[in-house]
Subunit: 348 residues, 2 copies
């Protein structure tokens, strides 16, 4: 086991406003990060940079690197993914030009930005930083388990890719709208790009996962809520260790279970049946009690996009009744009902 780290600790962080770089991708499928950024941080996006007119259009003004800089942009975020997950050679000249213009380059792809030919030199010339959001920050400590001030809610799920990030973002927005001071805490690359800061928790060395979660969500005022983006699943045969470390390090007071009601098994693990929402609630409480004995479920977030309109209300009602907490589809209903449950349970 690692010894306690004495180094200064930090999270990944980049400056805004930003410009979204879309390269030459032609379909929205490959631009999820860019579309999410524009959706969740519209006020901080000065525009998009595209390599050709056939590139997918994210619906914001086209800008050059110089124009983006003049409009106040401080970062260029690669908001699209190429096949294979690496930056295509054809994108590199535009990225170099942006770095030379002084824009920090932010990416969540495989391979390090500094390895792209000429980019490190261009960044040095322009005084720009190269920020790989898949690379954990240095100096992460071992988890202490010490009780921190402020409140925390974590999104968990019956599987990967079932709405944990979206639910956390929506819940943060709805809490703030209701006058509750809340901060989204990102743990995955897309979340980090949307938040502008965070820790890629699945890339952290195992010994430091609880500590990374503690650093991500530090002491806060008593009525402040951190809304922490969950990862993986407690019944996931590949990733449950990430989920467990994030849960115990986050020491959440509350959690929301995200679930796709049509899924029958763990995605890409066909031999593993999907756990039920009740199983996840029970297991989350059991393990989460280690660092927060008061942990409780405050909501279920359901993906109802493929449920016939006539069955939706009945399905939500069934899950709400079975779990004893509000059940919403955050995309359709928002998370107001979960905000109300949080206020009721915690007098926030």
């Amino acid at each position: 086991m690692a010894s306690m780290s004495q180094s200064p600790v930090s999270v990944i962080e980049f400056a805004t406003p930003f410009v979204v770089f879309l390269g030459d991708i032609t379909a929205e499928t490959y631009a999820k990060t860019g579309v999410g950024l524009i959706q969740w941080r519209p006020g901080e996006c000065v525009g998009q940079m595209r390599l050709s007119s056939s590139t997918f259009d994210a619906g914001v003004p086209d800008v050059t690197a110089a124009a983006a800089r003049a409009a106040g942009a401080r970062s260029l975020i690669i908001g699209s993914a190429a096949v294979g997950g690496v930056v295509p050679a054809g994108w590199v000249p535009a990225l170099c030009e942006a770095a030379r213009a002084g824009l920090d380059i932010v990416a969540g792809m495989h391979g390090r930005l500094a390895a792209l030919p000429g980019l490190a030199e261009a960044a040095a010339e322009g005084g720009a930083r190269l920020i790989d959001v898949r690379v954990p920050p240095p100096g992460l400590p071992v988890g202490t388990g010490r009780k921190r001030t402020g409140r925390r809610v974590l999104t968990v799920g019956t599987d990967c890719a079932c709405g944990k990030k979206y639910t956390a973002l929506q819940l943060t927005a709805d809490l703030n709208r209701a006058g509750v001071d809340a901060t989204f805490r990102a743990t995955g690359q897309t979340g980090i790009m949307i938040a502008g800061r965070g820790v890629p928790i699945d890339a952290v060395v195992s010994d430091f996962v609880t500590g990374a979660a503690e650093v991500l969500s530090p002491d806060a005022p008593a009525h402040h809520w951190d809304v922490i983006e969950g990862q993986g699943g407690l019944f996931h045969p590949g990733y449950l260790q990430v989920t467990v470390g994030l849960l115990v390090g986050s020491q959440p007071d509350a959690f929301v279970v995200c679930h796709d009601p049509l899924r029958t098994h763990i995605m890409s693990w066909p031999d593993f049946a999907l756990p039920g929402v009740a199983d996840v609630i029970e297991r989350t409480v059991l393990i989460g009690r280690l660092t927060n004995p008061g942990i409780r479920c405050v909501g279920v977030s359901l993906n109802t996009s493929k449920i016939p309109a006539g069955e939706r209300a009945r399905l939500l009602a069934r899950y709400a009744e079975e779990s004893g907490v509000p059940c919403v589809d955050p995309l359709i209903d928002g998370t107001g009902a979960i905000v109300a449950e949080i206020r009721r349970r915690f007098s926030s």
Copy 2:
């Protein structure tokens, strides 16, 4: 979450026989690794290398690098730890000489061997490898949860440093002595040095911990037992994620709970009470069922070194009765009773 790796996978491995390097330490306290190596692999140790006559004597012949090489040694293992966990400058010339003589250098200290002045060059000259056992091998995959052939027993514990490595080593020896084909699987630096191969599980990136455990203990003949060295503890606020990943990736048929009966709280975490043996059994079964529904406890391993002689037998009997499985102090009793329980439960 990481995508499945396609790279070839491996574990850390080094060649034997070996010579133990003790540097200039003066007390056995700092030579635990070297002493353990000589204890567990006496037939493969050609001797010790000491920097001066005041260095602690591990009780094997003193040899020079050249003499060790002539005696067939293929590796030099740094078997002592200096204060601060780094290799002192005064040790480097002797290490360079050994590398130049063609001995692979094996170390488990902080900092990479290649960073020591002149050592990489010396190794290149002698055709020697530099092996940092704290650095995980490349190409580790994501855990699949696929059922593997052969049998597995994992040591778990109520805390860190309560006998998991020693118990696994003794159990491997006792199984083999009883005619059961068994292999020790190392997950920590000292264990890796003793076994000559393994994966430093706590240093693996979180996403790959279950996969690393799968690689460490591959398919085997039906009646073969892998005895896997446990890490951390399921109730440990800093390290439980390592323990969980190792448990689920190992998919053990059986486990042994290691426990220090005099400890009252998690070592170095005074705010966290030590769990009971029964708590650990229950939690291990609950989580381990995900990849092995038949998982069961087959023994309790107790550290009775500080228990008065007259109370020892009663204490062991009490733990055996409470847990329903044999309870031994492996240092005094060996693990024959646990071997018998394994044979009875699994017809091995």
